[in-house]
Symmetry: C2
Subunit: 347 residues, 2 copies
């Protein structure tokens, strides 16, 4: 069943049927009803390829999935994708995924853009001075960045969370509790969010005249395994840190294992605040000692980004070009006053 047949069936022109279906105003409500009814009965579905050719819109957004022999496919990516997808399905959009080596992200992105299969691009895992940004700007295709790129002119559309503020606030809380020795379990050092979180922590510390020794910072992929290893190293330091900031609840999972194995008590000997992306299988309140967290839902970000991107393609704007979401600091049991004995040397 195609439009022509349907219109003949109804004794209407293709124009009218098309307009009825696409919600144009210049069609009688009674006629529209009749059309809609016929669609239901016949099961007519417009041909996507034809629509696409006629409108020039593919109804899809493209993204590059970083992948390589040594690449961790991490849960955060999957969670974000879920949000993106939820919203896309709602609008009958789909997304096209191009897997690519992380070293060839620029090329992959360009290929995706000129492939003609997508209307818009989505980009994540931003780095400082990200080379994809100039390329994206040179393309005449809408795009949206999740995160930001420190060192780049901030003249591109993005959605990010306020990573500096999140870790600044978290650090302030721990400082108020009397902690002076901090350590940071961070994500990969070249990624923007990791840089900013570190900056937030450093800023809070320097307000108190404190600094963050380099050996108290760990940059790794965000798996619990690596979180554990890094934490073990921290715990073996002669003057071990009492306050830990952690870029993911996944890292925290491993870190806490290390704390337990060292026979230390979380929330007493060691205070820990993790950033919580609201991963469904890793709820901070379900940890044996519930985790104090900075929270911002990754999935919600995915939904919002899809909304904006799809809206832009459909020209339903205007959307704010740049959004910076605040995180929530939620205090649970993993934070407590700095242990006395260790705090004597402090400020």
């Amino acid at each position: 069943m195609n439009l022509k047949q349907l219109s003949e069936l109804l004794g209407l022109s293709q124009t009218t049927v098309s307009r009825a279906l696409n919600g144009y105003p210049e069609v009688n409500e009674a006629t529209r009803e009749r059309v809609l009814q016929a669609v239901k009965e016949t099961g007519y579905r417009p041909n996507k390829a034809a629509q696409r050719l006629a409108t020039g819109k593919a109804g899809s957004i493209g993204l590059v999935m970083p992948t390589a022999p040594d690449h961790y496919s991490d849960v955060h990516f999957g969670e974000f994708l879920t949000g993106l997808g939820e919203e896309a399905v709602r609008h009958d959009f789909h997304f096209v995924i191009m897997p690519a080596d992380p070293n060839d992200e620029v090329g992959a992105l360009r290929r995706l853009a000129i492939s003609g299969n997508v209307d818009a691009l989505f980009v994540a895992y931003m780095r400082g001075h990200d080379p994809r940004l100039p390329m994206l700007k040179s393309l005449s295709m809408p795009f949206l960045v999740h995160g930001r790129s420190i060192g780049s002119e901030p003249d591109y559309p993005y959605l990010d969370i306020d990573n500096e503020a999140a870790f600044y606030d978290a650090a302030r809380l721990l400082l108020q509790l009397g902690h002076t020795r901090f350590a940071l379990l961070n994500g990969p050092g070249h990624l923007d969010f990791a840089i900013r979180r570190k900056n937030g922590l450093v800023a809070a510390l320097s307000e108190r005249g404190l600094s963050l020794p380099e050996d108290c910072v760990s940059h790794t992929s965000m798996t619990d395994e690596l979180g554990q290893t890094a934490m073990e190293r921290f715990l073996q330091m002669p003057e071990r840190p009492t306050a830990i900031l952690c870029s993911s609840t996944v890292l925290a999972l491993g870190a806490i294992r290390a704390v337990n194995q060292a026979g230390l008590k979380l929330g007493e000997d060691i205070s820990l605040i993790a950033h919580d992306d609201v991963l469904p299988h890793l709820k901070p309140e379900n940890f044996s000692v519930p985790l104090t967290t900075t929270r911002s839902s990754l999935r919600a970000a995915g939904v919002r980004i899809a909304q904006r991107l799809i809206g832009t393609v459909k020209q339903e704007g205007p959307f704010p070009e740049q959004e910076l979401w605040k995180t929530e600091l939620i205090v649970r049991a993993s934070t407590g006053p700095a242990p006395r004995d260790q705090n004597l040397g402090g400020v």
Copy 2:
């Protein structure tokens, strides 16, 4: 630049240019060269939407990504996707991903099929009596299954590994080494591969008159965390098992942590064989005690499946409808003779 302009530029008809580009034989080689040269110079790219409308082929394969509030997005899925993508890119295919609740897989698959965005479907995470199978067969769209569905008529195209044989062989090796008390760290119990692996183990055991107690089987998602928990339970049993079969190196990772924490020696007190999907960041030879494994590359399976699916769409067949890959049993240090003292009560 479109075909019409290009053909005018060359003083040829659209027909000839189109044929030159698509490798049809009825065009002079010299002419073809000239066309190809012009394409290079002008940067002409055929419009995908128009091609699609004219040919009826979308150049894409569709798949459903299981996702839900409580769903683990696991590394195995990502790894497989990578293989799929690698091959797709090579053929200028893309894949369309529809996220869906695992409880609505059938509906999601149907929606994807009728959306008109895909030429073929790929399906994984097969269950016993999988309800998607009858639906897929009713569709007139090529599809390919990764895995099989025990309890369903095996009349659908699939690619699977011989899970029974893998775990049968693994179990035999351990039996030959004198082990009599087995435990199984398996994937989710409703999934076909898990069922078959258990069957393989049970078959090997029953040949020796042994059985597998229900409390020696653990069915969980395949994360190291859950592997550890399950293994801890096994180790606390009064007559603890000495031979462990493990459905993933990810599970093994956790399991081994439990073994170490119990102060036991892998390959001496406990022998363990894991199935190795050849995950890039988890090489069995890099474990502190290198792991004996049954091996079959998930990524390679992805590549092969993409090949077959794309070939089918392009009508380049014939491909074998059903492929069953043998796994390799690779002996490393995590397997050894059953400990004497514990083995006295055995066969």
